[in-house]
């Protein structure tokens, strides 16, 4: 596709060159490299995308302020900054002012009521925004969170009552005695759950909080990267990355194809105190239910305690890596999108040698906080020619809805940001 397009470009350039060979001024005027259509991604009819900014680096989560300023959290500090502010001054969707600050790596970002929140892998920082400018004097409101590299990224969201929710991913695959060792059994109870494998709630207006001030709001969640507060029903929603290695470790239970789609990636609606079942349970996409993990005696028939755990409200095929969720609270998109959820799937790696999948943004139609239909692919073709983690052109990672109802998507492979609008 891409090569065909460049061939077409080359040919048209050549033709122009031939026809205008005698008139160089004309040539210079005519030849203008067009923008890549929709910044390289595909969208449903009526939607368009522009590239807000490019090559920002490891662009993880994003947040849009009420004035339209877009904040990007970088997983790797670039040029001395770990947070990027993009401002579009002339309203064409593209950033014409780029500022960086905050000298720490991380994934989480949120903005509300003139306060910006950003995370490192063990803390949450807060910045005041005065007259549309960030005051570069961060205050640590949460610190000392578990950071053992694996699943260390802290993603955040805010409710409407002064609380911030922080995902603390489990530094583990399924809480085995020896992590990621084939044949090692699961620990029971899993000691990790005391300080990770869940969502913690903190106050936005208190400095220096840690586990002793926080509330373990939900537990039994292996690694939640997508987290959003649904203001329609005032509840927390989270997308979990399911466990790895079912086929590789249990080929007698899962063949290669079954290993590629199991366990399901899950969307949870979380009430306070919810227990989603990790590490004891996984969601079997073939059997359509939560079952005991093999490390805890499971054999694809035993359900055991998993019947009592909180059930997810939507399941997706395995390993797609749901890295962000955002509820569509705008009105610029058609009616069917109102109060539904967009989910960005970073794309799989643990499906190899089966073909990888994901690398797209899906839409889940919802009303009153519950799905009203099947999920569908909304934006696609991020990966380009090769759908593999190291070779994909882009990998969708963050989502945000702007005050004008536009949907923003970030990519952490190169650092491209798209702004998606509806033209009708």
């Amino acid at each position: 596709m891409k090569s065909k397009f460049s061939l077409f470009l080359l040919m048209s350039l050549f033709l122009m060159h031939v026809s205008f060979a005698g008139d160089t001024t004309k040539l210079r005027k005519t030849v203008k490299v067009p923008d890549e259509v929709n910044g390289g991604i595909t969208l449903p009819a009526g939607f368009n995308a522009v590239v807000v900014a490019d090559t920002l680096g490891v662009a993880r989560h994003i947040a849009v302020d009420a004035n339209g300023d877009l904040y990007v959290k970088l997983g790797r500090v670039k040029g001395g900054g770990g947070i990027v502010r993009l401002r579009d001054k002339n309203g064409d969707g593209k950033a014409d002012e780029i500022k960086t600050f905050g000298d720490f790596n991380g994934s989480g970002i949120a903005v509300k009521n003139n306060v910006l929140y950003a995370t490192s892998d063990d803390a949450v920082f807060k910045y005041n925004i005065v007259n549309n400018e960030v005051v570069n004097q961060p205050e640590k409101i949460v610190q000392g969170l578990v950071n053992k590299r694996q699943h260390a990224s802290k993603t955040i969201t805010l409710d409407n009552a002064g609380n911030i929710y922080v995902n603390i991913g489990a530094p583990s695959n399924v809480c085995q005695t020896s992590d990621r060792q084939k044949g090692s059994m699961g620990m029971k109870p899993c000691p990790i759950l005391d300080s990770a494998g869940g969502i913690w709630q903190f106050k936005t207006n208190v400095a220096g909080q840690s586990y002793n001030n926080g509330v373990r709001y939900a537990t039994g969640l292996r690694n939640v990267v997508g987290l959003d507060w649904n203001s329609e029903v005032n509840e927390l929603y989270a997308t979990q990355h399911g466990r790895d290695m079912l086929f590789q470790w249990y080929p007698e239970m899962f063949n290669q194809q079954e290993g590629a789609v199991n366990p399901a990636e899950e969307l949870f609606r979380l009430k306070p105190g919810a227990d989603a079942g990790w590490p004891y349970c996984y969601f079997d996409i073939g059997k359509k239910q939560k079952m005991l993990n093999p490390e805890y005696g499971g054999d694809r028939t035993k359900v055991g305690e998993c019947a009592e755990k909180v059930q997810s409200i939507v399941q997706f095929p395995g390993h797609l890596a749901p890295n962000a969720i955002v509820f569509y609270n705008g009105t610029a998109f058609p009616e069917k999108y109102r109060n539904g959820a967009f989910i960005a799937f970073h794309g799989s790696w643990n499906r190899a040698p089966e073909p990888q999948a994901g690398y797209f943004v899906v839409f889940v139609p919802m009303k009153n906080g519950s799905p009203t239909g099947e999920w569908e692919v909304f934006a696609d073709n991020f990966a380009g020619a090769v759908k593999e983690p190291a070779k994909a052109t882009y990998r969708p990672c963050g989502l945000a809805v702007g005050p004008d109802g536009a949907l923003y998507v970030s990519d952490d492979q190169k650092g491209r940001i798209w702004k998606i609008t509806y033209a009708r």
């Binding site: 190899a352 983690p389 070779k391």
Partner: protein, 138 residues
């Protein structure tokens, strides 16, 4: 005349040695590929390209083409510390693979060292045996 004969003999000897070693290397690489597919591919991917910031690539890294002892140690003891691999750090955990036999580890590393654009000397079961012994002594 005598020198010529000696040179010729040496040449024959060297050629003989190479052609005797080559099928051995080939067999080791073939066996190694099987081991790779079973135990390594899930994380490092079929072409060794890895997963950005999660599982490192195995093409032209200092570990893969460098010191044999260090490389064998990674497979036997696993790796779970923040280290830079060709300028990037990786967040996943590699478990110890000491359950693999000396021959299997030699084969898989010989395969890795001769695939994904790498070209480095083969690893022998004796190399693995030595490293395993030095690790258990500690």
């Amino acid at each position: 005349m005598k020198i010529k004969m000696t040179v010729l003999l040496i040449c024959f000897f060297v050629i003989g040695l190479i052609s005797w070693q080559q099928p051995d290397l080939k067999a080791s690489i073939e066996r190694g590929q099987k081991v790779y597919e079973t135990y390594c591919l899930g994380c490092h991917q079929s072409d060794g390209s890895g997963v950005p910031r999660l599982n490192p690539p195995l093409s032209k890294t200092t570990y893969v083409t460098g010191d044999k002892k260090k490389l064998i140690t990674v497979v036997l003891a696993g790796l779970d510390t923040e280290i830079e691999i060709n300028g990037e750090v990786y967040n996943n955990v590699m478990a110890p693979h000491d359950f693999l036999k000396d021959q299997e580890i030699a084969d898989v590393l010989t395969y890795v060292r001769n695939s994904f654009g790498n070209k480095a000397a083969a690893i022998t079961p004796a190399d693995v045996k030595n490293v395993r012994a030095s690790l258990t002594k500690k």
